[in-house]
Symmetry: C2
Subunit: 350 residues, 2 copies
């Protein structure tokens, strides 16, 4: 096996004519122990000359963690999660950390196994973006892993309300849903249907509560159809919805990923959007702004949330996490082509 030709700290120490410990202290400015300016200078120069880079595994062995963070998502190929990962990765990169991506494919067993692998790899922070699905059967085991990560000084951050007392960075889902519902109401719609996400996902519940709130405030009757956050599921949901009701004039789909399937199904059935039916999405998948009809949706700064998650984790690692436990990120309505004024307003009926 060929030897690693790169130099180690002993080489630096030798060249600078100091001991190993001094070399280490000189190169790690925030060490407890001070080092004379001149000495530090000598060591730094030696390190430079030898192109010294610390062996992260040796360092990790002592420091008990590696400069890496992990993002746990359901699926990187889902644009929603890809944006979170990207935001997290950018921030991590800036701070000199590498990013693991873990796609749990909505399987709690896989998620658990991933978290154990992350623990063994002594990752500095784990960011749970995986929508907040918590299987009771796995909760205990998961909690043990998380505790173990905390024990070695690793940080845990959630990007969806997940567990009490976790540091959390979350979009204002409820507010966003209210915004969209009010937008549709403002356009004159009275029969506004809503397609939810999976029942056990927190994001989904929040969205629905926003919808319910806005509907109640306007004294309108809610019409809810269960969905599953998948594109195909979005098609199925609208099909099922139309089977049991044909009076709604607007439809609010609680994720863009689903909305894509919904739009496709509507097209197949010859329902024109927005002429026959206004459709609103949630989450603003960037690339779909080029679709037709372009989706009116709620924009969430997913990359920003991912980045905030990383910052939060690293603050936690550094031991200064004075920020509020749950931080809510604002969202905004982006009006495009898929919603329009109701043509024959029923307001008169009310």
């Amino acid at each position: 096996m060929p030897r690693d030709p790169l130099s180690s700290l002993v080489d630096v120490a030798r060249l600078a004519k100091v001991s190993l410990s001094t070399a280490s202290r000189a190169l790690n400015p925030e060490a407890t122990h001070p080092v004379k300016r001149a000495t530090r200078q000598r060591v730094t120069e030696a390190a430079q000359r030898l192109e010294y880079r610390p062996n992260l595994m040796a360092r990790g062995l002592r420091r008990r963690r590696l400069p890496t963070i992990a993002v746990v998502v359901h699926d990187v190929t889902d644009a929603y999660f890809a944006e979170i990962v990207r935001g997290a990765e950018d921030e991590a990169y800036k701070q000199g950390y590498l990013t693991f991506v873990c796609s749990s494919r909505r399987d709690p067993a896989a998620e658990l196994r991933y978290v154990e692998m992350l623990r063994l790899s002594r990752v500095s922070g784990v960011i749970f973006a995986a929508g907040g699905l918590i299987e009771p059967n796995y909760q205990r085991a998961m909690r043990r892993q998380v505790e173990a990560i905390r024990d070695y000084g690793g940080a845990i951050v959630a990007l969806a309300p997940r567990v009490e007392r976790w540091a959390t960075e979350v979009a204002d889902n409820s507010g966003g849903a209210r915004l969209m519902t009010e937008h549709l109401i403002g356009l004159g719609h009275r029969r506004i249907a809503f397609i939810t996400g999976p029942a056990n996902v927190a994001t989904s519940a929040e969205c629905e509560s926003g919808y319910q709130l806005a509907m109640k405030a306007a004294e309108l009757k809610p019409l809810v159809e269960p969905g599953d956050f998948s594109t195909a599921g979005g098609g199925r949901a609208v099909a099922s919805l139309m089977k049991r009701d044909h009076t709604f004039t607007a439809l609010f789909v609680s994720s863009d990923t689903m909305a894509i399937g919904t739009l496709s199904e509507l097209h197949r059935r010859g329902v024109r959007v927005p002429e026959d039916l206004s459709v609103g999405g949630f989450g603003d998948i960037q690339s779909w702004e080029f679709a037709h009809p372009a989706l009116t949706t709620i924009r969430i700064d997913l990359a920003g949330i991912g980045a905030a998650g990383v910052r939060r984790a690293l603050e936690q690692v550094a031991g200064r996490d004075a920020a509020p436990r749950v931080r809510v990120h604002p969202v905004s309505l982006v009006t495009r082509e898929s919603t329009q004024q109701l043509e024959r307003p029923m307001a008169a009926l009310a």
Copy 2:
């Protein structure tokens, strides 16, 4: 700082009443040194009882690498790369490896820095999916990093033709482009325009050569417009193309990401697809099969290529990489809505 409460190999050795070395050998079956069956049994049981898990950093320090692989892409939010990452991650997960994702955002300096970070982290394999962009200024530095990774036993795999003598897993881009071009010719089109990718990307060059080949074989005059593989760029390219030519009846866009922008721009201009213009894409972004018109495109098994890359890397690490240097993955045509028979065939003119 709280101590890691988990047990280490000494605990196992103590419980099994064997030495540290024997414990290590018993738990690593492929060790050089044999261990009696009964002894191994005892050690295994002790490990089980204590829920022993090896400290990966200590192991990495000796073994000189960690069970991690990295995928270097341009951008995870681009569906093309997301699928590759997903495929790689799935395979890595199966083999007990974690996956780093590195989005170079087409910046060779960032790519270089990432590779250095990966080297310091003693990653087992690096998979370059970043289209093959090689800046001459960075080539030397990059090569040094790669050599260093090889030195500690790490593997390098390219998913685009990149450097001579690297293990390479690549889609049959040229064949795919020929397939699409022939499809359009078969539909009766004679004026077939082509939008390329960036000049310095190998994938792009291969696509173009496939197009050129097919056009030449059919004795047709090529019409090429430069593009950049971005969605916005796809719109700009078709605009520029239409400024200088208005006779083409079919358009082959060398990436789906671009094709999305192209379609959007055509829609804006009132050009109907496929009635007025047939449009073919390349790469088959899954979620866009739900768009309208659904894009006729060349399907590439990107996840499969990502997975193959990981398998290849791990074989290399294990020291058995007898496979051919460059492995080409077949692609296929998927016909959807955006291409159709030319309505008034010009075949007679030929």
